[in-house]
Point group: C2
Chain length 90, copies 2
C-alpha cells in the first residue's frame, strides 16, 4: 500500500448563486477595497489515504467526492494527488 | 490597471483541532473508506481584482486575507495570483 496526499477543491458551479461570496465582496467594498470585482467561496480539503496505486487512489477519491464532499447538483470538484514516500511529499 | 485572478487557500493551523475534518473522516470510515487517514477542511476562495501591478495586488491580498478572509489566530493562508489578459487567464 502506498500513501497519497490529496488536495481537493470543491467549488460552486458557475450558474449557482454564491451569497457568501457576495457578502464577502460587499464587506470588502465597504472596507475600501473597491478594486475587488468578484468573490466565490469554496472548500479546500486535505486528505491522506492509502491505496495500491495511483489509479485506485483516484477512483476512491472520485467516489468520496461524489458521495460525501461535494454536492454534484450544485458543486464541481477537482483534486491533485501526490505520493508520499518515507513521510516526505514526493 | 491590470486584472488579476487570485486563488486563496485558508487552512487551520496544524496545532488547531478540526472537528469538521474529524467528522468527515469518521463518516468516510463508516461508509467503508477505511484507508483514509486524515482529513482537514479549509476554505478555497476565488477572487478577481484590479491593481496597477502584481506587487500591489499581492499587498492588497495580504491585507484582505488578514482582515477578512482568515483568522490569523487559528488559520494560515496562501494564494496564487495570475494576470488576466483580454478576458483570458495568462
Amino acid at each position: 500500500m502506498r500513501k497519497y496526499q490529496a488536495h481537493i477543491y470543491v467549488t460552486l458551479r458557475p450558474s449557482v448563486l454564491d451569497p457568501a461570496g457576495t457578502a464577502v465582496m460587499s464587506g470588502l467594498q465597504h472596507m475600501g477595497y473597491d478594486t475587488v470585482e468578484q468573490v466565490r467561496i469554496g472548500k479546500y480539503i486535505e486528505l491522506s489515504l492509502s491505496a495500491q496505486d495511483e489509479e485506485i487512489a483516484r477512483q476512491q477519491l472520485d467516489l468520496i467526492c461524489d458521495q460525501l464532499l461535494a454536492n454534484p447538483v450544485i458543486e464541481n470538484y477537482r483534486f491533485d494527488l501526490v505520493e508520499q514516500r518515507d513521510g516526505v511529499t514526493a
